[in-house]
Symmetry: C2
Subunit: 704 residues, 2 copies
């Protein structure tokens, strides 16, 4: 009896052990508990220092034409635990070295009725949890269609959230800061107009979602490694404060076509008692596959200018002519039409920009509107909208390439696709080859307007697959990609570091489309940048847009000091000085910071941060001794007190501080700044006042 | 007053003249009358020898998000008439020379409220009418979306029709012969299973639609030059016997995205008092643009065999292995899986076919199942289903190409796409280049299964655009295309003669999938072949499929003589001897006809024809003196009496006649035939008996 009792006890314990299992982070503060509900539903929960972060939440997927689905009736076959610790070097980044350290729990499940196997893999880092679904090779589950993924994230409280309305096609909204319970009431106001947009629920929000609990926990929900899957939004059950995954549907309303063996992306929950750790977290990158490109020597961070802002403000035009109701590529003879006289991408103007960029040490010049087709480039659902290789009559590709080269400037290509993905793919090889033949090594791509094939969405599996195809093919051609309006990034730049940027959020251009909230840039690093760098295109010095275009009364809701700070706070290996040369020429002393600031880093230290309020970060340039500090400020005047104890102990430095003038204000006095210099050491402290929508930028160079 | 009266009268006459206008065919028998209804709706009607063919029918288009649409409120601005007469030479065809002769009426319309311009262009030939919508360049109408085209074809009687159920994805149905009023009741029975299909109405039918009136008029409705538009079906108002155009919708239910200036395809109405004139008509080709390919020397008709029928019958397999639940291209290692031993596309078997084909003078050998991916090739909605360049381990591309070349045989490529059009386009350049690198100059493409992007249909504008893209790119590579499951052809092979074939109807393979109606081949030339040749793949000598595959009880509903006749009656520049070499070896005397028959023609004369009952045609080989005659017969034993007065007056000939044996029958005695020879001249007459599902084939060679 005793033996039987022991066996039974052991079995019972083993069953409990199989049915409920704990996973701890390396430092033990985060604890994830996996357990099975009675009806065979897998669940997880997460605590931080014993405080609930994620209450018990169910996992599973609803399948199309499959009543059983992958929701319940599972049993645990076995579990495997492991630990991983490794340091790796990104090709570019905020840090020269990144530690990847986690404890892992893999739960192998089998569905009783169907014998289908599914694995849940959990990785618990010191800064958060990542988990994903895995579908092993098996005869019971091969091809399947997702009707909806049903991953819950049960919140432990009515947190403050910084959210965007959930949308299948656009992320270009201002953030709303509210309690979770208030999302529903504020939803409609949060939805402003866009060229392509589609919401799905009054409590639907996008990722990454930044939250702060009443007791000071910072929680961020996102996904990592979104490849060949549909992009996830979150839908809030605002009665119970439970988020559930809501994938982007295809043209028929289905949410994903999968073939085992395969995996879902990682769903990520970052947790910290401090906001800075969220910004510093490398969890998203760590969950992605290592670099897949063997030779990465051609991938280089870029500081650039562009023939762009003058079109965004409406001062000039992408299009060559206003005389035609429409154009037909290869048929319309542009040499015979009347130029509108406002076409910015012309030889003379471009050379002017090249001269300025060269004089001030910029690596590249982006030119938009260089190619035939801009007359009817969006809103027409046009299939054959661009061919990506035929310039307008006033843009001489070879001549400008040679001119730029002679001035040590590289031309940056622009591929606006107007969402016509099949057309882009049809031309892609020729377009990329054209780039190589003409000295372009980086391309900004765009997807303005509804996606073709019609019915697909920007964030559906079909389009996600397309963006990835463009990135991978670009790598074959040794081309760097900066994709705008594409799906929000999820750390794929670790695997494909030629993806040097995305927009995929409300960028600087919206300051010319009516303006963004002054604290927008204090939110973005907590939300959009969790997945990867953003080509935010900062550096606007003239805030009154009517000065560039009398018909545009938009105002840039930022001070000049805030604009300078963005080069440090808005991490990107691709940094644009977006304004017009003539505007920089009026403030050459401030412009000096943009010229000096690095674009690649050995080290980054987030000194202080609070989402929606302020971010201050210090970064050390890659392979050098200089440091750069940036502070962006929200709505309230604030004194930022920082210690420079990150500086080398045995060095002396000169700090050049670009700060708001005392009476600066993003709206009424944005161009008031003061520049001062100071000798500093690692013992120095600084107290600087930032005004509403203001900030400061500091370059710190060694005094030898 | 008199002057005013005269002016008024002139104006009135002019107005009437503008509002109603007659157009006559060159020989005057067909008269088309255009007129405007009071509410500004354009109409047309057609008579033949003063008999109504099309009663007054309205024209117009319903636009999306446009209440006004292009349906009414038009006025005639002006009309232009012209005549055209020209003879042109096709690269291949039934005739060496084709006369293109028509009278044309162009009606320029303007919509009063919107000022939008639309032109209706009518071309009236001796054998029928073609008309289309044209949208001139204008500011009032640039980009527009078709909700539905509303072209009516008001029938003058309850005709007998030979119809297929209207379907957005398949044409692979048996024909139903019935009165128009009976379509509704017979519709469901007409719909048999297919891998991809979607009907839209119980009175929806496909084109071309063949009809016969009670008073002996033959009428055929179809379209010509379907390019960048959605394929048209016909929906019958069976109360009033009015057909209306029903276009194929896209994933969102819209029917076409157009940009002016542009045109719709031609809608065609063939009319004749004799069935033969329908078959002989070149109206569809004449409405297409002339050949767009400058050098056509590489385009050559082909007689071929194939490693194909043994898979169709289930005797062997396209797939290499049965061991995997699914395959992943580039990941699955085929050298490590267990071959299923039934994979037909292996070196040894292919060489066997090459030997046979070479011995008997065939130009080409098609091999299906040569490439990785067939294990899960359809029904999975698989995106990356084939790469078109990676052979199975047992298929050596280079070795087989060299072997074939040494035997004067060209390998024919196979690109099954499984409907995954984006995947095909991604690989198309590499796939076509692979063909050129390995000595392939023709490709059979397939689109089995639902189209990807999902939600699109086989006959929608998106897919139509894709098929055209494949044809035009193939022309750049000097590759000939034979597209199966693609949209039914509409004469585009005049413009792109590298389109040497389509299936796009129920072909011989269905004889192995349960059988087709024995008179199927007496209908197809009146319906499917109106738009272009069909790769019908005839030449089956073993009708009992269970002899090839004991698990397949299908029966080929045709006699051997009927199979031989198809090489003459089923016009195609691409002719396959589809059966297995071993089956031909059992009937080498009958096989001789297949070896002798030409594939390209100087002249074709339809001797007698009745849709659903019989077709007899005589053709003179291109550049030679031989003639070939073929007769296919329907359900009733029939004596076919023909005069050989097409032969040269001053020549003597030997006719070799392959006819049904007296007791032959498609079901009970299909392999009974008799071969006889006879000396003939232009004065000779023949009377031959064809059994149910039977026929005869005659080769006539000059006795020098």
């Amino acid at each position: 009896m005793k033996q039987i009792a022991i066996l039974v006890t052991l079995f019972f314990v083993a069953t409990i052990a199989l049915n409920a299992q704990e996973l701890k982070s390396p430092n033990g503060k985060l604890v994830m508990t996996f357990s099975m509900q009675d009806n065979g539903v897998p669940t997880y929960m997460l605590t931080y220092n014993n405080k609930a972060v994620i209450k018990q939440s169910t996992l599973g997927l609803e399948l199309k034409d499959d009543e059983k689905s992958l929701l319940n009736d599972f049993k645990v076959v076995t579990t495997n635990t492991s630990t991983y610790s490794n340091t790796w070097q990104p090709v570019w980044g905020e840090q020269k070295e990144i530690l990847n350290n986690y404890n892992e729990l893999a739960v192998i499940l089998k569905q009783n009725e169907t014998n289908r196997k599914m694995t849940l893999r959990f990785r618990l880092f010191n800064d958060g949890l990542g988990f994903r679904y895995e579908f092993p090779e098996q005869t019971e589950l091969v091809y399947f269609v997702i009707k909806e993924e049903r991953t819950q994230f049960a919140m432990a409280g009515n947190h403050t959230a910084f959210w965007l309305p959930g949308d299948y096609d656009s992320q270009e909204y201002d953030y709303t800061e509210s309690k979770l319970s208030e999302i529903r009431g504020l939803f409609d106001t949060a939805v402003t107009h866009n060229a392509s947009q589609e919401q799905f629920s009054k409590t639907g929000v996008q990722t990454s979602l930044m939250m702060k609990s009443d007791d000071g926990l910072y929680i961020n929900l996102h996904e990592a490694a979104l490849i060949n899957y549909s992009c996830m939004h979150l839908e809030l059950d605002d009665e119970n404060l439970i988020f559930e995954s809501h994938l982007t549907p295809d043209a028929q309303g289905n949410k994903g076509y999968l073939q085992a063996p395969c995996t879902s992306p990682w769903r990520t929950v970052m947790v910290s008692s401090g906001a800075r750790e969220i910004l510093a977290s490398k969890l998203t990158l760590n969950l992605n596959e290592p670099c897949a490109i063997e030779d990465t020597s051609w991938i280089k961070p870029v500081k650039y200018m562009g023939v762009w802002w003058e079109m965004i403000t409406g001062k000039s035009s992408w299009a060559y002519t206003d005389d035609l109701p429409a154009v037909q590529l290869g048929i319309t003879d542009y040499t015979k039409v009347k130029p509108n006289g406002k076409h910015a991408a012309n030889n003379e103007n471009v050379k002017r920009y090249i001269d300025f960029a060269s004089e001030h040490g910029f690596d590249g010049l982006l030119v938009e509107g260089w190619n035939e087709g801009w007359e009817d480039w969006f809103g027409k659902s046009k299939d054959y909208v661009f061919d990506f290789v035929t310039p307008y009559p006033d843009f001489d590709v070879e001549e400008l390439h040679a001119y730029a080269k002679s001035k040590n400037v590289t031309m940056i290509m622009h591929h606006e696709t107007s969402g016509s993905t099949r057309n882009y793919e049809r031309h892609m090889d020729k377009a990329y080859q054209f780039m190589k033949d003409n000295g372009y090594d980086a391309v900004k791509s765009g997807y303005v307007g509804n996606i073709l094939p019609r019915g697909e969405r920007h964030y559906g599996q079909w389009a996600v697959n397309h963006y990835q195809y463009a990135i991978e093919k670009a790598a074959d051609y040794q081309i760097m990609v900066n994709a705008h309006e594409a799906v929000r990034p999820t750390g794929v730049c670790r695997t494909y570091p030629n993806l040097i940027g995305n927009e995929s959020a409300r960028g600087t251009e919206f300051q010319a489309f009516g303006g963004s909230k002054p604290n927008h840039v204090t939110v973005l690093p907590f939300t959009r940048l969790i997945g990867g760098p953003m080509d935010y295109t900062p550096g606007i010095f003239e805030m009154d847009i009517s000065k560039l275009n009398p018909n545009n009364n938009s105002h840039v809701n930022s001070t000049i000091a805030n604009q300078l700070a963005l080069y440090v706070t808005m991490y990107s290996p691709l940094q644009m000085a977006a304004d017009l040369p003539e505007n920089y020429q009026r403030f050459m002393d401030a412009f000096q910071f943009i010229k000096d600031v690095a674009v690649d880093w050995d080290k980054s230290i987030y000194l202080e941060a609070e989402p929606g309020q302020y971010i201050t970060v210090a970064r050390k340039e890659k392979g050098g001794d200089s440091w750069f500090v940036g502070n962006v400020n929200g709505m309230n005047t604030r004194t930022s007190s920082i210690k420079l104890n990150f500086l080398d102990k045995d060095k002396k430095y000169k700090a050049t501080i670009y700060a708001d003038a005392k009476d600066a204000h993003y709206k009424t006095n944005p161009q008031a700044y003061k520049i001062s210099t100071k000798k500093v050491t690692h013992k120095s402290k600084l107290a600087l006042q930032s005004v509403p929508g203001g900030g400061y930028a500091i370059s710190i160079t060694e005094i030898k």
